[in-house]
């Protein structure tokens, strides 16, 4: 009998509830959280934020988390171990419950990509707060951007001024600019808001440049991690995990491989300033130079968890 969406959702929520009862800070984010915040996304997997220090406890919990009689496994050769050292460094651990017709996928983050503040401080029920979810959605995938704007509008309606940081639709930005001035703190964090409030004709080009900047930042970040993971990939391939090995055994093998071949924090090693500089250089080749003056200072977005 195939597993329904509702059953999957219930399973993930029960996992979060059990984890929290054990004192583990965790929260569902991405697509499932978007549904809760007023923007429907068809998704079947679950993205979960878990406090890096609780990685070991969460792994033990996963080792006993049966779904339709199946226990989870690590997914693919690229998946780093669920261990505080790598979670803290921005890696994602992937798990699968691989029952025929009842597959479930769980991706675990320790730090929210691009998160400017600790996600643990703003939970709403089973979910990470909309500010965290919106920051995580500033990816290099065009399909994610309407979700960012929808979350921003949701926040502004709920009187959270940080919603100003997430509106990337020109019409909507102009409407908000007409009905309520952006607070000074938001104008400082996102200079382009000054153009929206002033109904300036340069807004269109500046907004395009800003979105492309985030695309380039994400591309640069992914390149850094993808390069860093290659030796680990080869080591995991060679390690020959015994068929049917329990999660704890899989984990031990991955930790051994990671300790020898996977840098814990490649973004920190590469340099956040260098990554931002790379993204600006790439952007400079595709937008009007004058629009670069309106880009936000994104350093804060890469500080949490990468120190």
């Amino acid at each position: 009998m195939p597993l329904s969406y509702a059953e999957r959702e219930e399973f993930y929520e029960s996992l979060v509830a059990r984890a929290r009862r054990q004192g583990i800070a965790c929260a569902i984010t991405s697509g499932m959280a978007c549904v809760a915040y007023g923007v429907a996304q068809a998704t079947q997997d679950c993205d979960l934020l878990c406090a890096p220090d609780a990685a070991g406890k969460f792994l033990s919990l996963l080792g006993e988390a049966s779904l339709h009689g199946q226990l989870p496994s690590y997914r693919g050769h690229l998946t780093p171990p669920l261990d505080a050292r790598w979670l803290r460094g921005g890696w994602t651990s992937h798990f699968v419950w691989d029952a025929e017709g009842a597959e479930a996928y769980l991706d675990i983050f320790g730090v929210a990509p691009r998160g400017s503040s600790p996600w643990e401080t703003e939970l709403q029920g089973f979910y990470a707060g909309p500010h965290t979810v919106a920051e995580m959605k500033r990816t290099n995938r065009g399909k994610d951007w309407p979700f960012v704007t929808a979350l921003g509008a949701h926040m502004l309606e709920a009187k959270d001024a940080r919603g100003w940081l997430h509106i990337y639709d020109e019409n909507l930005l102009r409407t908000f600019g007409e009905v309520s001035p952006a607070p000074a703190e938001m104008l400082k964090r996102r200079p382009i808001l000054g153009l929206a409030v002033a109904n300036d004709s340069r807004l269109h080009a500046a907004l395009y440049a800003e979105v492309q900047f985030w695309h380039e930042l994400d591309r640069a970040r992914l390149r850094i991690y993808e390069k860093a993971v290659r030796p680990y990939l080869m080591a995991v391939k060679k390690a020959h995990v015994p068929a049917g090995a329990v999660l704890a055994t899989q984990h031990e093998i991955r930790v051994r491989c990671a300790e020898n071949h996977l840098p814990t924090n490649p973004l920190h090693d590469y340099g956040i300033d260098q990554m931002i500089s790379d993204a600006r250089a790439a952007l400079g080749e595709m937008v009007q130079p004058s629009t670069l003056a309106w880009l936000p200072d994104v350093c804060e977005q890469f500080k949490v968890g990468t120190a």
Binding site: P2, S4, Y5, A6, E9, V35, A36, G38, V39, A40, Q41, A42, T43, Q44, D45, D47, R75, G76, L78, T79, G90, T92, H94, E103, Y105, D107, F109, P113, S117, H131, T139, N140, R141, D144, P146, T149, A150, A153, M155, L156, E157, K159, D160, A161, R162, G163, D169, N171, L172, T175, F176, V179, S180, P183, D218, R221, L222, Y225, E226, V229
Partner: protein, 73 residues
């Protein structure tokens, strides 16, 4: 004391209606009329709609799994 990011004033009813319409128009532009309608449903109905949509897609063979790359966009 205000929470981080909290806005001070509530909008008057006319402004609120205008903003609400602008947000709805954005949802139509970004997601299409049907999903805009869904996004403005009460949470329980929205969740049920998404559940039906995903279950139908899975029955038709749609795969939702993302690649496991160790790093996520």
């Amino acid at each position: 004391m205000k929470k981080t990011g909290q806005q001070a004033k509530a909008w008057p009813p006319g402004v609120r209606r205008r903003v609400r319409q602008a947000i709805y128009d954005f949802h139509v532009r970004a997601f299409g009329e049907e999903m805009a309608r869904v996004n403005f449903l009460p949470l329980a109905k929205r969740r049920r709609y998404v559940a039906d949509m995903v279950d139908h897609a899975v029955r038709k063979g749609v795969k939702f799994a993302k690649p496991a790359l160790g790093v996520t966009p």
